[in-house]
Amino acid sequence: MSRKLLTGLAAGLMLGTASTGAMATDLVIYHSWSAPPEVAALNVLRAGLEEKGHSWTDIAIPHDTGSNVNLMSLVTGGQPPNVFMESNPGVYRDLAGMGLGLPLTQWFEENNVVENLPTSVAAAISVDGEIVKVPTALHIDGMVYYNMEVAEAAGVDPTAWTSFEDMFADFETIRAAGYDPVAVGSQPFQVGYLMHALTAAVAGPDVYSAIYGSEVDPAALDDPAFRQTLETLRLFANEAGPAAQNRPWNETTNEVISGRALMQVHGDWMKGEWLAADKVPGTDFGCMQIPGGKAVVVTVDAWGLLGGVPEDVQQAELDFASVVVDPEVQGAFAAEKGSTPVRLDAPADSLDACSQEVLEILGDPAHQVQNPHNTADADWQDSIWDVVFNFWSDPNMTVDDAIAQMKENYDTILG
């Protein structure tokens, strides 16, 4: 409570002078978040925005309701939102082409934000050398979260695993103790994320960049390490029972929280669910990177701002940006969402055990790659999701089949 108050106060003080003359503006804010921790985090931003005298009109279309078409529909329909959660660089290029882009490089420099961002964040918010996104949350796409109570009951120690071999070797023990070793959700989104996290962890940054980067090299698809990645994915798929079908990620997390399964390998936004269930990191649950992983995938959730708007609206949008990147707000936001602050100078008390682990991992620039949504062509990226989800769902589909399909897709889409 006091933390929130402080946040608001600080935000008010910091920019109060700047905004006294500004008109109150209603900002339309488009996002796809819907899980309670995500909504709680958004409310931190809203409080900050309202402190500055602006109001927040919300438009939320959750993932996987078949309507992600919405942002571009809104733009085409002549009702573009002022602020939108978007990573895809293509969208920014389109908007710039339509005269609706808002370059932020200068603003970031004037406000001394850039020097306080981790390198991976700084890299993620630029498109074609120009900063266009406002980073709001930092995540690692493939972390292992496990229930410590279950680990103890099953007699295994996840921290001792140094490779996937170690991990899968313990599965029999876990099953014998009456627990599911790993909870998975059979949903394109979860499988797609697991796949690229595994690619980074198993095949390493080079293969990863060749497949998920902005320049795709189809030769990487034949890399033995990539084959091994798919084989590993198959091991996870084998753990998916009928109940996993279409199960959202947070329900999957709940399998672990409630003690039915030992662990989940997914983005570290899982932490929000754990915190919402009043569990304490390091005491009730442990977090670690994929055993033996060669690299982690960093997701930077970021907001885009609409350009080509009247002066006062643009000022309001920039006010929103300043709320988002404010260190205090970052701390509060991360605590609610379960993310890691995008600023290195966020208050230290906002960092729990898991966030500290994340920052430690991020200390090594060579050990991190970017979420494909920030870099890859959407069509190509989506086609990989299709192939791996089919691979996941069809036990008879071989690794060769999957690779052959990916190559064909490459030829069609990018060739």
Partner: protein
């Protein structure tokens, strides 16, 4: 015609009851076949009713009881909590004002949609069926083809068009798209129905008045009771239940209740609150359900009276 026979049968039955004490006559036996048919129908009815039953009882249960897994068991403790939550507190994105927001949007979309689509297609159907227009034939054929056009193929252009008309993302925009999309089918239904209006009545009216609109309002509209019931029911359910048009054209002010519902079902608080989901689903389904239970009989009658045919 059938009304008469029903009435006659009813009258016959009354007489039979009156006389029963004095002239004990052989009752109409329930035959074996009747029993078999009734049993079969009852089983089917069960199949149809089960989902509704499950949804209803689930919405009144507590989550604790749902987790026990007895899907068909009645609630051990009836509670309206889930209903209250779904109506007043359910979140859609950051706003937690419940489904009631979307409910009023749906209502606001429904009425202009009904008025626009029915007015347009009724007049068009009337003109095509009863008046001699040279290009009616080709136009009718075109409408027939349009009736089969999948929404997807015209979705993107329609977005641009509504945007040009400055109605994208408003209640009016959604209502307009509903009206446009339903126009061909509704017109064909009206046209088929009006085709059965005796040509002589129209001739008489032409000789009496000659006014296209006066004949429409004074003669044709009063004769359209059956068809209007059928169209109203079809159109109310299709507009109310629509998801895709609402989500595509609703922008951020005019999302109907189904979009809220889909959001609510997708948003889950750790474990899925099935009772809330089911309560929300029921809330969304109540208006069309009430209409069906009230006037479903008229619906079948209207169809029997020739509202829909080949």
């Amino acid at each position: 015609m059938s009304e008469l026979t029903v009435a006659q049968r009813a009258a016959g039955a009354e007489i039979a009851i009156d006389r029963a004490p004095y002239f004990p006559r052989r009752k109409k036996m329930i035959t074996g076949r009747s029993i078999a048919v009734l049993v079969f129908l009852s089983i089917c009815a069960l199949f149809f009713a089960v989902p509704l039953y499950v949804v209803v009882v689930t919405s009144f249960k507590t989550m604790a009881q749902i987790r026990e897994g007895a899907i068909f068991a009645p609630p051990s403790m009836w509670t309206l909590e889930a209903w209250d939550y779904a109506w007043n507190q359910a979140c859609s994105g950051i706003n937690c004002n419940g489904l009631k927001v979307g409910f009023w949007n749906s209502v606001a979309i429904l009425f202009p949609s009904l008025v626009l689509s029915i007015a347009l297609s009724m007049v068009t159907g009337y003109a095509l069926a009863l008046w001699n227009v040279r290009w009616a034939g080709p136009f009718l054929f075109l409408l027939f083809i349009c009736a089969f056009v999948p929404f997807q193929i015209i979705m993107f252009p329609l977005i641009s068009m509504t945007s040009t008309l400055k109605v994208y993302g408003s209640i009016w925009g959604v209502a307009l798209v509903h009206s446009v999309l339903s126009m061909p089918v509704l017109t064909l239904i009206f046209r088929n129905y009006y085709k059965d209006v005796p040509q002589e009545i129209l001739s008489a009216a032409i000789m009496d008045s000659g006014s296209f609109w006066r004949i429409f309002f004074e003669i044709i509209v009063p004769m359209s009771g059956n068809i209007l019931i059928v169209i109203l029911i079809l159109q109310i359910t299709s507009v109310w239940n629509d998801y895709l048009i609402g989500v595509t054209f609703g922008g951020f002010n005019a999302q109907p209740m189904t979009v809220n519902l889909a959001n609510l079902i997708t948003i889950s608080t750790g474990t899925v609150a099935y009772n809330q989901n089911m309560a929300a689903a029921l809330l969304t389904a109540i208006p069309p359900l009430v209409i069906y239970f009230l006037v479903g009989k008229l619906f079948v009658q209207g169809i029997t009276a020739g509202a829909i045919k080949g």
